[in-house]
Subunit: 394 residues, 2 copies
């Protein structure tokens, strides 16, 4: 496998484009100097349209999980009542963080593979509310489900107008449209190693006016992840603590590539890759784990059927340079996941489907050679609106 | 300045050697795979001799300040009595973190520029103790003072045998000898962008048996910075959350370079660079801010004399490609700092002293051309034990 670049199809870290890799090799600079200030401003300003906000964006040097912790500890106080809407591992983690810091968390556990239902959320609040905050997962990486965030936010506001709505969009923001100001979301978290085409190490957090105001009275302890310290320091072109500079270099370059492509192009590419992944995997006989109505546009999770020796299939796929992700938590051994976010191309998805097709045929599965790859390609082209042209007429 | 590589003489981030830079450009891998596990093990095992421990080392994706927070929140409970020995900005920060999380902190504030005195520490404990923990700064980056850690630890143990001794060695470990097991230190924090020749983004934390045991009962809330989660995950070749992969690549390569040089060589090089910096700056008329007995071996802080227009001098130095650090906190405008840690060479120090010498002469200061550079070089050679040979005799 050393001979060629692996086709890294896990849902993050994602493969880095060449110029992003090169950015990671840049020499260090003074993080209290003007060159850094200019780069930080490019990043925070460049991300605002993806968040869908005109408010401040904070850049924290930590993983996405650190960003989730920042969301909780900056806006809440011990014993605050919190609704933790969980549709998988990362929803559980978000709720767990709130519990660890002393919030009184009521879990709304949705069956894994399903999205949260706005009606069920509204009823939970009516029955058990009011809540100081609701924790939502935008894209649940463990199950490949994307929640209907604007509908969920509207349902929450309908019954609890002042509830803080905190959203984990670590593995979605930047890859799909988001409009936090319009949807009335109070805080959104994303991570550098997902849609942003960079290495892990940074979490970006945006908050609404209500979110920033909540930080003035929130009493959970915080220091390293203090968002107000970040906002105030960013206003002077700095970060409160030494930032993960090399990752900022990479995010800066990733954003440049995204701006060159245009947000609509980025979103359409993710949609086409998702369509190709779903169609190709279905053609190979893999059943989507997610409710198809809410299938994620950044990661596809499918069941491993009876009779498929996954370890052996996965080893064969790896020999072809394709790296897939197994199941997480209680799904270990039951599903596998194919990531399609960041710098992903339709051609990389075709390669991944092709590797699976080859290995399954070798393993004696009844698959028509080329059928899954062809199906995936057709789905991508349909998603992109590319149809067969009629023969030219004079 | 774009024409050449800057001579980055701030006390971190430090300039990266070419192969470390290249490591930062490596493609992403699966952080749950065997290649990552092998790298993580190389890093944690490779660092143990520098910590001077046979215990576990945790690798956290955060700045050094996150490592200090981890030290506090993993070992302490709200209302624990804590002695915060502060000799500058970073000592203040360490104590502040403990306060924010509800510890009852007694500060022992030492005059900036001085080291902590073991007798004064012992008396503070006798007068105001017992304390659950003592917070010590090994190298105070803001003042250029290096504390006598073994003597301070012995003084603490003399009166409070069970006090947890937590040490911020962010800007020293790896550059100077350390022996946490032998000295009876319970927890030590370091950061990737200092001695380790890598970009910022990782904090490494080692704890003693007493330190790990304290984590079993400590009640301060923690999740992202939970050291036990890191230790348990490391035992399986992983990190609990997605790690700052590119920085791990760089630390892995930095450690390889350090091992090739040998720890004794690394330490001697730092000592020689420190000697050159101090002698060269003294020859230029700059007075050491630190008590010379405790002058840091990784950063030199000097007073800006009356009559020196620092902004103008610094601009001239920058035009020559040398980046110095100003004063921090209450020392802003009163001192400047010259960092000499990480991949630093004596020749880089000579270049920095040379730039200052040129600019000061241009500004009309009475400096004999070549004298400061010559003095710096002589001090480095003396430190390295390189003397003039007598003429060969038969």
């Amino acid at each position: 496998m050393d001979r060629f670049e692996p086709n890294l199809r896990i849902p993050g870290p994602t493969a880095l484009p060449p110029t992003v890799r090169e950015a990671g090799a840049r020499q260090m600079i003074n993080h209290r100097g003007p060159e850094f200030a200019a780069m930080l401003a490019r990043i925070t300003e460049g991300m605002k349209p993806y968040f869908g906000t005109t408010g401040d964006v904070a850049v924290l040097s930590c993983a996405g999980t650190g960003g989730l912790e920042a969301a909780v500890v900056n806006t809440l106080s011990p014993r605050d009542r919190v609704l933790g809407v969980s549709i998988g591992s990362f929803g559980d983690r978000f709720a767990k963080i709130a519990s660890v810091y002393g919030a009184d968390v009521v879990k709304l556990d949705v069956a894994w593979g399903q999205a949260a239902d706005p009606v069920a959320v509204r009823e939970a609040i009516e029955r058990q509310g009011p809540f100081r905050a609701a924790l939502l997962t935008h894209n649940e990486t463990s199950t490949g489900v994307m929640n209907p965030i604007p509908e969920l936010a509207a349902a929450i506001r309908e019954v609890n107008a002042d509830t803080l709505i905190l959203v984990d969009s670590v593995s979605a923001l930047g890859a799909v449209p988001f409009a936090m100001d319009e949807w009335g979301i109070d805080l959104v978290v994303t991570g550098s190693q997902k849609a942003w085409m960079a290495a892990p190490g940074l979490a970006m957090v945006a908050a609404s006016d209500r979110g920033w105001a909540a930080m003035e009275t929130a009493r959970m302890p915080r220091f390293y992840l203090d968002l107000r310290r970040h906002r105030d320091s960013h206003a002077e072109g700095q970060t409160p603590w030494t930032p993960a500079l090399a990752v900022l270099y990479q995010v800066d370059e990733g954003l440049r590539l995204m701006q060159a492509e245009g947000a609509d192009g980025v979103f359409a590419r993710h949609e086409a890759c998702a369509a190709a992944a779903r169609a190709g995997l279905a053609a190979l006989g893999f059943e989507l784990f997610a409710d198809p109505r809410f299938a994620s546009r950044t990661v596809t999770c499918v069941r491993i059927p009876e009779g498929v020796d996954w370890k052996s299939v996965n080893a064969g796929v790896r020999r072809r340079g394709v790296v897939l992700a197994g199941g997480q938590g209680k799904l270990t051994g039951k599903v596998f996941r194919l990531g399609h976010l960041g710098s992903v191309t339709v051609e990389e998805i075709l390669g991944a489907i092709g590797a699976l097709e080859s290995v399954l045929i070798e393993h004696g599965r009844d698959v028509e050679p080329g059928s899954a790859v062809g199906t995936a390609q057709a789905a991508a082209l349909e998603s992109l609106g590319v149809g067969r042209r009629a023969a030219a007429t004079a």
